[in-house]
Symmetry: C2
Subunit: 122 residues, 2 copies
């Protein structure tokens, strides 16, 4: 089930803090977006419909919690993106950024660390 752009903002808020109320999500997401409360509710309802979010009644309101794990979401989005853009391989993407000097020193350090780790594993 596809998560749209606006919906993914709601998911981010939920991943950061759950279970929680629509009001809380509204408070944390809407300011940066200028969304009305209804918009947040609509998006939540759609996510529940898509089975990406689960609800649990708490008094007169719902508590929302993510059903879709962020890991799984990142995984499928990444795969799709890398397939579309870089023929399914990771190195060309890194190469692309490296060629444009968009790699920060921290990036470079961490990449080295990762590769060393992989070598250790072998």
């Amino acid at each position: 089930m596809r998560i749209s752009g606006a919906e993914s903002l709601i998911m981010e808020a939920l991943w950061a803090n759950h279970p929680t109320t629509a009001e809380d999500i509204f408070a944390r997401v809407a300011p940066g977006r200028g969304w009305s409360e209804t918009t947040v509710k609509t998006l939540l309802a759609r996510l529940v419909g898509k089975k990406a979010v689960d609800t649990e009644r708490e008094g007169r309101r719902y508590l929302y919690r993510p059903l879709l794990a962020r890991e799984a979401y990142v995984e499928s989005e990444s795969r799709e993106f890398i397939d579309r853009m870089f023929g399914g391989r990771v190195a060309p993407l890194v190469s692309h950024f490296s060629a444009r000097e968009k790699l920060s020193p921290e990036d470079i350090a961490e990449l080295k660390r990762l590769l060393a780790e992989i070598d250790d594993g072998q």
Copy 2:
């Protein structure tokens, strides 16, 4: 100007071979998609409207050529994706793939080569 998913397939065909005719693009893109010829024409027209593709008359038909460079497209899509998914940094993405053993030996070799290259540059 945003390029949609279907449109990006047309762009790929154009990047691979240009300038060329709608018929040629149809021949190369439609089979894998089951698109009708009109669909390809519509997408081309939209891309021309978005100024991502340029036309030049050749007899009774057009020759199409990309106006938007693939480099620029990849750049902006990548940036947006990395911002959305990994807080704007490349290393977490690689780390994500590395953790799932989705890095091919070629990926790893190329990453090493890239890092060595960067070191040389310093």
